[in-house]
C-alpha cells in the first residue's frame, strides 16, 4: 500500500464538525458528503484536492463526533491517506474500519509543507517528502489492524470471521 500525492496541510484539533458540518448529515451519500469536505475550514479545499492527494494535519485530527461521514467525506473527495501528529480515537477506528489509510508521525508533519509531493508506504511506515528529499519513519500498523485493512475494512473482515464460524 503506497500512496503518492500533493500535501494539503492544516493545524491541530481539526474536528469532525469542520470536516463535515452537521447541516449535511441528513444524507449518507459519499459523493454528496465529499462536496462539503472541510468546507468550514477551507472553502477552496474541494476544488484544490486531486485524486491521490495527502492530507497532513497536527495533533488530535478528527476530534469530536463519531460521525463516520467524516472519514467517508475525506475518502470520497479523493484523499488517499491522512498523515497527522495524532488522531482522535473514534476517527482513528472509523478510518481503519472503512479502509481510509492513516499514519501518525510528528516529524513527518513538521517536515512537510502544503504543496509538497509526498509518498507514504503504509506497511513499512515510511513517509517521503519527495519535494524536499526527506524521509521519515512512522510506527508500522499493528498486525491486528493490518489484517482489517488488508481485508478491505471491518465489514469484509467480519464476513470472513462469520464464514469461519459457520
Amino acid at each position: 500500500m503506497i500512496f503518492k500525492g500533493k500535501a494539503h496541510k492544516y493545524y491541530d484539533n481539526i474536528d469532525t464538525d469542520v470536516i463535515i458540518p452537521a447541516r449535511y448529515l441528513n444524507t449518507s451519500d459519499p459523493n454528496e458528503l465529499a462536496k462539503h469536505c472541510l468546507e468550514d475550514l477551507d472553502k477552496e479545499f474541494v476544488n484544490k484536492v486531486q485524486k491521490g492527494d495527502i492530507l497532513v494535519a497536527g495533533k488530535n485530527f478528527g476530534c469530536g463526533s463519531s460521525r463516520e461521514h467524516a472519514p467517508i467525506a475525506i475518502k470520497a473527495c479523493g484523499v488517499s491517506c491522512v498523515v497527522a501528529k495524532s488522531f482522535a480515537r473514534i476517527f482513528y477506528r472509523n478510518a481503519i474500519n472503512i479502509g481510509l489509510p492513516i499514519v501518525e508521525c510528528e516529524e513527518a508533519v513538521d517536515g512537510i509543507e502544503a504543496g509538497d509531493e509526498v509518498e507514504v508506504d503504509l506497511v513499512n511506515g515510511i513517509i517521503k517528502n519527495l519535494t524536499k528529499g526527506k524521509e521519515f519513519k512512522a510506527k508500522p500498523f499493528p498486525e491486528f489492524m493490518q489484517n482489517i485493512m488488508k481485508a478491505g475494512g471491518l465489514i469484509e473482515f467480519v464476513k470472513g470471521e462469520l464464514k469461519k464460524d459457520a
Binding site: N13, D17, H69, N94
Partner: protein, 429 residues
C-alpha cells in the same frame, strides 16, 4: 497472583473472557448494548446489509434512538428516519424509541434502565461515554462498528491506559458537575486523555449527584478520552434500583492498579467555569471574565445538561425574571419523562413566563441541526458539550459553554455572568 487492573481493564477483560488484559492489548469483546441514532444508524444499516445476514445478534441488546434531526426537520432527514424505522421493524428491535416516547439518547438509556454497572456499551455517538457515570464501560464508535456489532455482538477494542482523578472536598456556591468537567478539560486539554480512560474516585464523589456524574462522564470525549468511569457507590446503586431490573456487576479498581497520571482535585475550589470559542479547553472561571460578552442566544439542554436538576437550577434563577429583550433562550428537557417532571414541578411555566422557548427533546441546536441555528457573527452561551467552529450554525458564529446556572443568569443579564450578579447566592436553599 492476578495482576492489578483499573475499572476499565476489568470490565474489558470480563467481556473478552480473559483473566487479565493489559493497556495496548487489541481484543474482541462481547457487548451488552449497541446504540445508534438517526444520523449514524443509516450508515450502519448500509454496512450491515453488506455482511449478508438476515438476523441481528440479539434484538434486545440494540437501542436505536432517532434524536438528532427529529421531529424531522426536512425531507432528507425524514427519509433517513424512515430507513431506521423500517430496519427496527424488520429486525424487531426491542429498544427502538419513536418520537413521542424518545428522548436524547444518553439521557434516555439510563432512565429506561438499559445500562447498569459493569456493562460494556458501544454507541455510534461520541457521547456514549455518558454511562460511565453508572460504572459501565461505555464508548463512542462509528457506524461500521455498529453494523458489525449488530451482526456479531462483538467489537474490537484497544485496552486503554487510565488517568485517575481523585476528587475530594464538596461543591460550593453555583458549582456543578459541568464546572468540574470544564475545569478538568481546561487543565489537561482537548487531547489530554487521548486514547485513555478517565477514572473518578475519592470521597468528593459523595457530593456529586447522579446528574452531575452523567455530565462529567458525558464530556470525557471532549478531553479525547475513550471513556470516563465512576466508582460505583450507594448513590449509583440507588439510581439503578429505581430504573432497572437488569442484574449488575461492580468492578472496582485494584488498590495498586497502574495509572499513567493521577490528579487530586479539591472540588470545593472549583468555580463556575466557561469554555470560550472554539475549543472546550479554552476555559476561564466566571470571575476571570472581566469584559462583558454580549450574547444573542442561550441554550439550556442536550445530553450534557438537559436533566431534571439542570432544569430546576435554571428555573430557580429564571423564576420571576425576564430573559433580556432581544435575546433568545431555548430550553430542551432531555426526555419526555424529564419534560413531564418539569411540568409537574411548574418549571415549564416559569420558563415560558420568563420568555423562554421550551422544545420537545431533540439534539437539534447542539450540533447546528435545527431549532436554534446561529446566524453570521452571532454568539451563544450553551450548556451543550462542544463549541467548535460552526457547531451551532454559521461558521462565523461563536459558542460558549457553561453550566445551566450561568446560562440562565446570562439569559437574564444579556451577557455572560453569574447568578450572583442577580443577587442570588449559590449556597442558599
Amino acid at each position: 497472583m492476578a495482576k492489578p487492573m483499573t475499572m476499565s481493564q476489568k470490565i474489558l477483560a470480563y467481556h473478552a473472557g480473559k483473566e487479565y488484559v493489559e493497556p495496548g492489548d487489541l481484543i474482541f469483546a462481547n457487548v451488552d448494548l449497541v446504540l445508534g441514532n438517526d444520523v449514524t444508524t443509516p450508515v450502519a444499516i448500509k454496512e450491515f446489509e453488506k455482511i449478508g445476514i438476515d438476523r441481528v445478534f440479539d434484538k434486545d441488546k440494540i437501542a436505536i434512538v432517532p434524536d438528532h434531526f427529529t421531529p424531522n426537520k426536512d425531507i432528507k432527514s425524514a427519509q433517513q428516519c424512515k430507513m431506521v424505522r423500517e430496519f427496527a421493524k424488520k429486525y424487531e428491535i426491542t429498544n427502538y424509541f419513536e418520537v413521542g416516547e424518545m428522548g436524547i439518547e444518553h439521557a434516555l438509556l439510563p432512565e429506561k434502565g438499559l445500562v447498569v454497572p459493569g456493562d460494556l456499551v458501544i454507541g455510534a455517538d461520541s457521547h456514549t461515554c455518558t454511562y460511565g457515570a453508572l460504572g459501565a464501560f461505555s464508548t463512542g464508535i462509528g457506524s461500521t462498528d455498529m453494523a458489525c456489532a449488530m451482526a456479531t455482538g462483538k467489537c474490537w477494542f484497544k485496552v486503554p491506559e487510565a488517568i485517575k482523578f481523585v476528587l475530594y472536598g464538596k461543591k460550593t456556591g453555583w458549582t456543578s458537575g459541568k464546572d468540574i468537567i470544564l475545569h478538568i478539560i481546561g487543565m489537561i486539554g482537548v487531547d489530554g486523555a487521548l486514547y485513555k480512560s478517565m477514572e473518578y474516585t475519592g470521597e468528593g464523589l459523595k457530593s456529586l449527584s447522579m446528574d452531575d456524574r452523567f455530565t462529567i462522564a458525558n464530556m470525557a470525549i471532549e478531553a479525547g478520552a475513550k471513556n470516563g468511569i465512576f466508582e460505583v457507590d450507594e448513590k449509583t446503586i440507588e439510581y439503578v434500583k429505581h430504573h432497572s431490573t437488569k442484574p449488575y456487576k461492580i468492578f472496582k479498581a485494584d488498590e495498586d492498579a497502574e495509572y499513567s497520571e493521577v490528579y487530586e482535585i479539591d472540588i470545593s475550589k472549583i468555580k463556575p467555569t466557561v469554555a470560550f470559542p472554539h475549543l472546550p479547553e479554552n476555559t476561564k472561571t466566571i470571575d476571570e471574565i472581566t469584559e462583558k460578552i454580549y450574547i444573542d442566544q442561550v441554550v439550556i439542554g442536550s445530553c450534557t445538561n438537559g436533566r431534571i436538576e439542570d432544569l430546576r437550577i435554571a428555573a430557580k434563577i429564571l423564576k420571576g425574571r425576564k430573559v433580556k429583550k432581544g435575546l433568545r433562550c431555548i430550553i430542551f428537557p432531555a426526555t419526555q419523562n424529564i419534560y413531564k417532571q418539569a411540568l409537574k414541578e411548574g418549571l415549564i411555566e416559569i420558563f415560558i413566563d420568563a420568555g423562554c422557548v421550551v422544545s420537545t427533546p431533540t439534539c437539534g441546536p447542539c450540533l447546528g441541526g435545527h431549532m436554534g441555528i446561529l446566524a453570521d457573527g452571532e454568539k451563544a452561551l450553551a450548556t451543550t458539550n462542544r463549541n467548535f467552529v460552526g457547531r451551532m450554525g454559521h461558521p462565523n458564529s461563536e459558542v460558549y459553554l457553561s453550566s445551566p446556572a450561568i446560562a440562565a443568569a446570562s439569559a437574564v443579564l444579556g451577557y455572560i455572568g453569574s447568578p450572583e450578579e442577580l443577587g442570588m447566592k449559590g449556597d442558599e436553599e
